[in-house]
């Protein structure tokens, strides 16, 4: 089945991972389409760099009220992937404060989010706990 990533900074295949755009002048990393660097102002360009697939949960919330159409509750967080901050849902964990811990180790995982009328499957990503508890 044909697959497409939810966002263009998710690379699918045998070795799914995220890629960031690193400023060639200062190294600041970004995930969006860039005009120039917000850190140093340089417009010299960006290198695509892979982001570590494992990281540490630096912050989270458990969203219980969201816009219509968004299933709740879910865990939203910020993962520190070896110095690069990544925004993601924390998945494969009970969405309760007892099961989600600040500082816990998490790793990237991907999952299908739906199939369109052309039969193409969109694939999203999240981070899951690396150990039980």
């Amino acid at each position: 089945m044909a697959q497409v990533p939810l966002v263009d900074y998710l690379v699918l295949g045998d070795d799914p991972h995220l890629v960031a755009k690193a400023c060639t002048s200062c190294g600041a990393r970004f995930f969006d389409r860039r005009n120039a660097c917000a850190a140093c102002g340089s417009d010299a360009g960006f290198d695509e760099v892979p982001v570590a697939r494992e990281g540490v949960l630096r912050s989270f919330t458990i969203v219980s009220m969201a816009a219509p159409g968004i299933p709740v509750p879910f865990v939203a967080g910020v993962v520190d992937c070896d110095g690069t901050s990544v925004r993601a849902n924390i998945v494969n964990v009970e969405p309760t404060p007892e099961h989600v811990r600040l500082g816990m180790k998490v790793r990237l995982t991907t999952f299908p989010i739906g199939t369109d009328s052309a039969g193409t499957e969109a694939v999203g990503f999240g981070f899951e706990p690396m150990e039980e508890g």
Binding site: L6, R33, T61, V63, A66, V72, T84, R87, P97, A122
Partner: protein, 402 residues
Amino acid sequence: MAEDVWILGIHMTKFGKHPDKDTVDLAAEAALGALRDGGVTIHDIGVLAAGNLMNANAGIGQQLQKQIGQTGIPVYNVVNACATGATALRTVIMAVKAGEADMGLAVGVEKLAGAGLLAGGTRKEDGDTWTPSGRYGAVAPVDGRIGTETMPGVFAQVGMQYIHEHAYAGEPFELFARISEKNHAHSTLNPLAAYTKRFTLEEIMNDVMIAYPNTRPMCSANCDGAAAAVVVSGAKLKTLSLEQRRRAVKVSASVLTSDPWQEGCQVLPDVNTLTRRAAEQAYEQAGVGPEDLSLVELHDCFATAELVHYDNLKLCEPGGAADFFLSGATWRDGSTPVNVSGGLQSKGHPIAATGIANVWEICHHLRGEAGDRQIEGANVGLAHVIGLGSACGVHILEKAAA
């Protein structure tokens, strides 16, 4: 040398539900109130800055003039998220400091009653075919799939990040709920607050969870309201009556910052660095330190936000916000009373009005006119707001010497 500037008159409407009044009615009530409070008329005003976030392209400044006086003065309609009111005030202060006018009027107004909880709006349906769009090449809406865009969720993470970075050993949910308990307790003394109900800690923790650790009473209350201030130059003030001079409040510092780039700031907004910078500049301008403050009104849009701003405004030791709060320092009988108005969680948060209403609260105490909730002997206060995007306004105000 730059002019010194003063608040000559200031007014806020009751915050809450005003179904019988439109945006211009509320703005006019605040503006006329501020003019009356300052003992001047619209004919004395040389510059007007006005903000209304929810209907930003309507030109609230000129709409207001159509009701209270079309005098031909320059109007600046400003918008800066939750810092819109502070931006209007700062715009007028800049004009007076620059000598372009000797008196100006700043107005902020919002109609928000019944608007929900500053959530992310409605997520669009997925398309018929996956088509990348936008700066992330997303084939479908990402809110809820890649983190959250709701304000309670974003600010929950701001607070939880602080807990993580400073290794707070206690229960974060209870800590944040206690902050909300304080602000709701304070609100019982504020007749202009939208909500004046005291909650127990248990009631707060057992209320509807919005985004852990923020329950409903820990979120800012959407409501209607307006606030306005008349700013005057020091030179002009000298020509006014003794009573006007006695009640005038000195603007010792007026600062607006935006968020400087920090690692991760485009992943989770960094509300800290710009607030720290604004506070540093404000203390420097005013020649006062955090220990000199009689009271602080800070931007507690969520209970999780109030904690980090204790640190950002340097009210506590770096990293020590939880201990500082738990010592009782920020209750109204503590060493640094914070949000004695009830804060955004109970006074309410009519967005564009907030940055002037905070200044009104401080002025009220400095003038000794705060009634039952007066902080005795108040002589210096700080008002802080932050709008995501981001913009931070800090004003330091001092009681008139005479």
